[in-house]
């Protein structure tokens, strides 16, 4: 017998259910949050650097200023060191990450990171070409596969390879792969694995480079920090006491004149 759907549910598509009412808001939020987290592809040094910068530049100085009981000038001096340090760190770590990643990718794709006779484990270009060639071969015999993969390849050219593109390919192959289904899935898996391997290698090389250059970063920070602080916080002019005309001065002046 046909079972009627509950009134508090509205089904938009196979995976999209909208719940209504107060408890529905929480359920919808949980579902939306789950969908968002499921889309997260890979987390690496880039996220690490971004989180570090935002925390150091904003949260640390704010907390020191609010919590520390030292005098204002000392607090400012210590608190402002963090945004200065964070800026230097960002200026050093972002180019290192970008340059190292590019350099490692370049070496890997030229087969320079594979032991002679060993597995081609970091060459993403090779793995990608392998899959695309196989896909072209399968598509030439299957128009539906060609049609469904055309859009995915356009997306791939725009956004690059990632979790979502992989899932799209998997879906298309699952539906229209025909005789090539097994080989295509295997080749796609290999591409995905090589992509991840290269990504983690890039991250670790960037980390080693960043830690090696940390003394240089600290030296730069140490050199520029007092200079920046001197511009931000004016030095107290202790050496030259200000001449202020006080009531005492006025009384002395008046008494001297009256004596004359």
């Amino acid at each position: 017998m046909y079972k009627q759907k509950p009134k508090h549910m509205k089904i938009n598509s196979a995976n999209n259910i909208n719940y209504k009412g107060h408890s529905g808001i929480v359920k919808n939020f949980k579902r939306a949050a789950g969908e968002k987290f499921a889309k997260i592809d890979q987390i690496g040094e880039g996220v690490n650097i971004a989180l570090d910068f935002s925390g150091k530049a904003v949260l640390v100085p704010a907390t020191i200023m609010l919590v520390s009981k030292e005098d204002k000038e000392k607090k400012e001096y210590s608190a402002l060191k963090n945004p200065v340090a964070a800026t230097f760190q960002l200026l050093m770590e972002v180019p290192i990450l970008m340059l190292c990643s590019k350099y490692v990718e370049n070496l890997a794709n030229r087969n320079k990171l594979n032991k002679i006779g060993g597995k081609i484990s970091y060459n993403e270009k090779y793995a990608k070409d392998n899959f695309i060639n196989m896909l072209n071969k399968a598509s030439s015999e299957n128009l539906e596969l060609e049609k469904s993969c055309k859009e995915i390849i356009e997306k791939l050219d725009k956004k690059g390879f990632g979790k979502l593109i992989k899932e799209d390919f998997e879906q298309a192959i699952e539906s229209f792969g025909g005789n090539y289904k097994k080989e295509l899935i295997e080749s796609l898996k290999n591409w995905d694995l090589t992509h991840k391997r290269l990504y983690h290698l890039q991250n670790r090389v960037s980390f080693v480079a960043a830690i090696t250059l940390t003394p240089l970063l600290c030296k730069a920070e140490d050199y520029f920090f007092p200079k920046i602080m001197n511009k931000i916080i004016k030095k107290p002019e202790n050496n030259k006491p200000k001449k202020i005309f006080t009531l005492e001065h006025f009384k002395n002046m008046v008494s001297k004149r009256s004596a004359k």
């Binding site: 949050a33 949260l59 090389v205």
Partner: protein, 161 residues
């Protein structure tokens, strides 16, 4: 350049790196712990250097030098301890399973998506928890009074002399 290429080749193909990368791909918890470890080691090293440099820097006024150096030292130590403990606690399987079961209960009908959401959440929550909330708020909250206390003690000692 040739030497660098060879060094990188040896690094990339060493047993340690290969195993490490395989673990990063297969185990989300291992990846999160690795990111935590890289972040902590960078911080600890940088703070140690900062203390050393601050104390040797003649351009920083003497009255502020000692407080800045103490603040750096205490921040470095508390950063390491707090980040490590919070990160490991948040990344632990029990905590993560509990949080994910509660947060993504609506995705339980789709095990694949549930697994993906859980692994994404694990990495983000651990890093954000350890780095932003704890390291950047809790650490200054702890280190500020400690640095002030040390500074006062230092002043008292120098006054006695």
């Amino acid at each position: 350049m040739r030497i660098l290429e060879n060094k990188l080749n040896n690094f990339a193909n060493s047993n340690f790196v290969r195993k490490h990368i395989d673990n990063c791909i297969k185990k989300p918890q291992f990846l999160t712990t690795t990111l935590l470890a890289t972040s902590i080691s960078k911080d600890a090293f940088a703070y140690a250097l900062r203390v050393h440099n601050t104390l040797k820097n003649d351009e920083i006024p003497d009255d502020k030098k000692s407080f800045v150096a103490k603040m750096d030292a205490v921040t470095g130590i508390t950063t390491t301890v707090v980040q490590l403990s919070t990160g490991l606690l948040l990344a632990s399987k029990k905590v993560q399973d509990g949080l994910c079961n509660h947060l993504f209960s609506e995705l339980k009908d789709n095990p694949k998506k549930f697994k993906q959401a859980s692994s994404g959440f694990r990495a983000v929550s651990t890093l954000v928890g350890a780095k932003k909330k704890k390291k950047r708020i809790l650490v200054p909250l702890i280190s500020s009074p400690i640095a002030s206390y040390l500074e006062n003690k230092h002043k008292q000692k120098s006054n006695l002399k």
